[in-house]
Structure formats: structure tokens, C-alpha cells
């Protein structure tokens, strides 16, 4: 039968058991520690503030040559489209709902995304085959061709995060309550 006395006894027993358990999470702890130097080759993430951008630089002129050699097969001459959609769009129509053209110049919120994506995923058949200088050059070329930066601009870890994308301020979350707030 359940009595207050028995409950008190159980409470004491539970308290004793808890007191002998080690503090903190007792997981299997089967992860192997790794140093920042050793993990660096895998750290491809570029943040909007430029954190993660590597040393190096590139210009639209350098990118033009690289694009013809590495990208035009799928993206078309000067990025006008081919096997896949265009990455260079002249005078894109204003964004207006489903079916809008989402070009680098009229849609993309950040220039850092271009570097991050090209470095991790392109060329499609040979990802990670470009040097960081080449990725900067292709990023510069696409920004220039989409009329975001000038022909003489040099893209590097300092200049790329400062590129103001025209559509940057026109995004909002569907569920604001799910967006983390800084502590």
C-alpha cells in the first residue's frame, strides 16, 4: 500500500542515488578531439560578416577567362544560360511572386554566399578543384556581370563582405518566433 511514510523513504533513496551519480551528462564520450589546425581543411563555411573567407583575391577580368574554361559548358557563354539556368541576367524583371527570376543582381542577399557556394560545389563535375584566388575571381566576374560591382573591383576577404547587394533588405522569416535571438 502506498503511504506517505513509504513515499518519504523512496524520496530519500532517490536522493542518495542521485548524489552518487557523476555530475554532468554521462554520455558515451566516443568523439575524438581534433585541433583547429587539423580540422581547418574541412571548414568551408563563409559567414555573412566574412568570417571563414581565406586569403587571396580576384578580379572580374581574371574571372572572365576562368568562367569560359570551367563554367560556360553548363551555364552558357558569359553565363547567359545553357544546360542550367542563367547566372548572368541583364535587366531582370522586378521580383513579383511565384515564377520570379531570382538573379544574383536582383535577388541574392549576400555576396559571401557566392564565394561559399562556388568554393564548395563548383564546377559541378570537379568541386574543390579551384584555388581560392580562382574562386574570388569567379565571384568578382559574376558580381560584375550582374552589375553589382565595377569592372575594376578586386574581391578579397575584406571587400567581399562589404559588397551591398541591391535586394539585401527585402527578406523576412516566415516564422519570426523560430529565429534565434542573441543571448
Amino acid at each position: 500500500m502506498y503511504t506517505p511514510k513509504l513515499a518519504a523513504g523512496l524520496f530519500t533513496l532517490t536522493a542518495v542515488l542521485l548524489s552518487v551519480a557523476p555530475a554532468g551528462a554521462e554520455g558515451p564520450n566516443l568523439g575524438q578531439p581534433i585541433s583547429q589546425t587539423d580540422l581547418a581543411p574541412w571548414d568551408l563555411t563563409v559567414m555573412p560578416d566574412g568570417t571563414g573567407l581565406p586569403p587571396g583575391s580576384g578580379t572580374p577580368a581574371q574571372g572572365k577567362v576562368l568562367f569560359a574554361d570551367n563554367c560556360a559548358l553548363c551555364h552558357g557563354d558569359e553565363g547567359k544560360g545553357g544546360l542550367v539556368e542563367a547566372v548572368v541576367v541583364n535587366n531582370p524583371p522586378p521580383l513579383s511572386g511565384p515564377g520570379s527570376v531570382k538573379s544574383i543582381g536582383n535577388f541574392w542577399p549576400l555576396a559571401t554566399t557566392l564565394f561559399d557556394f562556388i568554393r564548395r560545389a563548383m564546377p559541378f563535375t570537379q568541386p574543390r578543384s579551384l584555388t581560392d584566388d580562382q574562386v574570388y575571381a569567379l565571384t568578382a566576374y559574376l558580381l560584375y556581370m550582374n552589375k553589382v560591382i565595377g569592372e575594376g573591383a578586386v574581391m578579397d576577404a575584406a571587400s567581399l563582405p562589404r559588397v551591398k547587394m541591391p535586394n539585401r533588405d527585402n527578406f523576412f522569416p516566415e516564422f519570426p518566433k523560430l529565429m534565434p535571438q542573441r543571448p
Partner: protein, 436 residues
């Protein structure tokens, strides 16, 4: 058992022949004027005399170590594109019209692969957790298999599922073509919170950035709150290890959230104090709205349902009893109610929900229907336990918009479509996609 016309009348619960769901229990169901025609046989025709079929007269085949469906089911397959692996995205869609229940067989689970299906040796694969943590850690597959695991039945839906319904004119396509980017499985794996705690996350961290070991190194940002809520590093799918197209040997699984965020071939988690705004979250699964602004970070696959049968290609063969069936699901929780209409939304009746109705999982709904052989428009509409309701197409389009000229399947004019869908049935029993 007594059945009569009066009961038939009592069983009608909404317009154009919808019957009370008690008809599903097989009790007292009778259709005035339609008796004996349900399977397309002449009324009153007797069955042929019975004889032993060939397969009952000899022993059967040996059992293969891994069995596959009957050769007579060879048409039950995914709809795939890109068979020669061209350098474009590849898709495989689930044949909902040929399935029942709530579990998608592993071979029929949908896939979207942005750079082909990688062949990953699990003995060489590693998962790195780093960034805003005190102890960066590397986990092998073998190590993760030793962790305490959880398993849950959850749906997974691509943000692009049903996207062709953004077209201003209805595309002519099947349920597999339109809604084939949603599937439901029993996913088992290690709670991500356990691994993050071992790495000792910095209190000022708010996000993580996940990355795959596939060729595009596909990467997505996820709020840390989701990681500590119900995220797992999934290793098993319906009891066996993940299918290659679904992320073998491990993937991030975020119950109820946009498919693309559930990073496949998971190799790296970087804990951060903000989102990276990767290509797929800054560009692809980011939806322009009619006013020129855009949704970014959609996260939740909202409450939704669709009818899988009848549907285009699998319409009713003859007037009489038809079971209307489909799936409902919500990224917020359990399905509470599904209503069905046979007259294009003029009248509605509550469908039976097949148990179990689990949170963030397919819930099978069934609705008995007496098809009188005339035109009908079938619709389903779902509510979840949080009170969210699947919008009508008119409500949805008023907020999200539609194309200005007709789209063609398989275009993706936008993403995250969850409005009510409609199938029109003509007098021949042929079904087509309509807006109603």
C-alpha cells in the same frame, strides 16, 4: 444483418455521395440502385467455378537473402529523371497512388540529390563537430552506432513539393508528379543534443551550420534550439541503414522541417552565432512574394493533405463504393482532423483518421464514397492539433501569389505549397488536376 435504403440515406453525410465513416467498418452498407456493380461486373453475375491454379501445384521459389516485391508489382516505382547523371539536380518521386498506410518503403522514398548519389564507405566517413564549442570532436560511424538511440516515425517533405500548383492554370500531372516529394519513415539515430553536449557548446551560440560529404558539400543553417529539441543524427530508416539516396551513412533529421535542411551524408556541424546564408537558404528555398519581398528561412512544412486515390490514372472503374484515401501531415504536430468534399468544397464531411495519428508523421485518412457515375471534384483539408488549418487555394494565393502565365510540370515557380488540392472526376472515371 439488416440493411435497407433508409440506412443508406442516413449514411450520406455530405453532398455528391460522401458516406458516414462508419461505412469503413463494413457495417450495414448498401447502395440503392448500385448493388453488384462495384467491381465492374454485370449486376448479379456469378463467379466462375474454382480450380487449382498452377502455383498451388508445385513448390515455390527459394528465398533470396534480401527480398524484393513480387514481379507483378514492377510498376510500383519512383518517377526518376536524369538517368545518365547529367550535371544537374536529380529527382525521384514517391508513387503515392500505389501505396497505402503511412510508411513509405525505403526503395520508394523520394530523393532530391543536388550532385548525384555519393558512394560513401562508412568505415572512412567522419562527422566533425566544431565552431563555438569547447571541444571539437570527430565521430566515426562505428562510434555513433554505440550511442543510445531514439526512433520516431516522421514525414519528410521537400520544400519544392507540390510546387507546380503555383501555376495560374492547373498543370496536368499525377499525384506522384505533383506531390511525390513527401514520404514517411521510421527514423532512428543519435539525439544531436547528446553529441553537442559532449562537444560543450558555448552559451552564446545560437545556430549550427550543417554540411554533407556529397560533391556539392550541401550546407544549411539550423537554429540551435531545433538541434536541442528533437533533431537526430539519423542512421536507420525503417529499421535498416539509410538508403544511399537518403543520406547513407548518416544524415541530419529535423522532424517536420523543410527537407533540404535535413542535411544528407552529414560530415560536419559548425556551431555558430548566426546563419551562414548558404546558397540553398539564401537563394533556392527562398520564396518571392507578390509585393517583391521574400520569405527566407521557412523551416516548417505546414499542415497539408492530399488525396492519393482516386487520383489521375487511378480513377474509379465503375459507379458504386469507392474509398477516398490520402495522407495528411503537419510539421507542427499531430493531425487532428481531415475533412473531405466530393462537390468541390460546397459540402464537407469528416474523414476517418487511421491510427496511429503521430506527431509530424503521415496520417492516413479514409472516406467512404458512393460515386453515382457523375462528375465530382474531390478535395481534402487538414487541421493539426495546434489549430493550424490547411489553406484553401484562394486563401493561399492571396498571400503567396501564383504565376502570371501557366507553368508546366516539373517547374518550381516557388516553394512551400500547402493549399487544398482538387481532383476532378468525369463520367468515365478519369481524374485530372483542377482548381476548385
Amino acid at each position: 444483418m439488416k440493411t435497407n435504403r433508409r440506412q443508406m440515406t442516413a449514411d450520406a453525410v455530405a453532398g455528391n455521395g460522401l458516406l458516414h465513416r462508419r461505412a469503413l467498418l463494413g457495417r450495414g452498407l448498401a447502395f440503392a440502385g448500385a448493388v453488384g456493380t462495384a467491381a465492374g461486373f454485370p449486376a448479379g453475375a456469378a463467379a466462375e467455378p474454382l480450380a487449382e491454379p498452377d502455383w498451388s501445384l508445385i513448390p515455390g521459389d527459394a528465398m533470396p537473402p534480401y527480398q524484393v516485391p513480387s514481379r507483378f508489382e514492377k510498376g510500383v516505382v519512383r518517377l526518376t529523371d536524369n538517368p545518365t547523371s547529367q550535371p544537374v539536380i536529380s529527382h525521384a518521386r514517391t508513387p503515392h497512388h500505389l501505396l497505402n498506410g503511412i510508411i513509405t518503403p525505403n526503395g520508394l522514398h523520394f530523393n532530391v540529390n543536388h550532385g548525384g548519389v555519393p558512394v560513401i564507405d562508412p568505415s572512412q566517413h567522419k562527422l566533425l563537430i566544431h565552431g563555438l564549442v569547447k571541444r571539437p570532436l570527430v565521430f566515426t560511424v562505428e562510434a555513433l552506432l554505440r550511442y543510445p538511440m531514439v526512433s520516431r516515425i516522421n514525414f519528410l517533405e521537400c520544400g519544392g513539393n507540390s510546387a507546380s500548383l503555383f501555376s495560374n492554370e492547373p498543370v496536368q500531372a499525377t499525384v506522384q508528379q505533383i506531390h511525390g516529394f513527401a514520404s514517411c519513415s521510421d527514423w532512428a539515430g543519435v539525439p544531436l543534443a547528446v553529441l553537442l553536449e559532449e562537444a560543450d557548446v558555448d552559451p552564446k551560440a545560437t545556430w549550427l551550420v550543417a554540411e554533407g560529404a556529397d560533391a556539392p558539400h550541401l550546407s544549411r543553417s539550423v537554429p540551435l534550439s531545433k538541434a536541442f529539441d528533437d533533431a537526430i543524427v539519423a542512421l536507420y530508416q525503417n529499421g535498416e541503414r539509410l538508403m544511399p539516396g537518403n543520406g547513407y551513412p548518416m544524415r541530419l533529421f529535423l522532424p517536420g522541417w523543410e527537407g533540404n535542411m535535413n542535411t544528407k551524408y552529414l560530415r560536419r556541424i559548425k556551431v555558430t552565432d548566426g546563419p551562414a546564408l548558404t546558397y540553398h537558404e539564401a537563394h533556392t528555398y527562398t520564396d518571392p512574394l507578390p509585393d517583391g519581398k521574400s520569405f527566407q528561412f521557412y523551416f516548417i512544412q505546414e499542415v497539408k493533405s492530399f488525396i492519393s486515390s482516386p487520383s489521375p490514372g487511378v480513377g474509379p472503374k465503375a459507379p458504386g463504393y469507392v474509398e477516398i484515401s490520402g495522407v495528411a501531415y503537419s510539421g507542427t504536430g499531430r493531425i487532428a482532423r481531415v475533412m473531405v468534399s466530393a462537390d468541390g468544397g460546397v459540402s464537407w464531411a469528416e474523414a476517418a483518421l487511421q491510427e496511429p495519428a503521430l506527431p509530424k508523421a503521415f496520417t492516413r485518412f479514409r472516406m467512404p464514397w458512393h460515386w453515382n457515375g457523375g462528375p465530382a471534384v474531390l478535395q481534402s483539408r487538414a487541421w493539426d492539433e495546434a489549430g493550424n488549418v490547411q489553406p484553401t487555394r484562394a486563401e493561399f494565393v492571396a498571400q503567396r501569389g501564383q504565376t502570371k502565365s501557366p507553368a508546366t510540370w516539373p517547374q518550381f515557380p516557388s516553394h512551400h505549397y500547402n493549399a487544398v488540392a482538387s481532383w476532378a472526376i468525369d463520367a468515365k472515371g478519369e481524374v485530372r488536376n483542377v482548381y476548385a
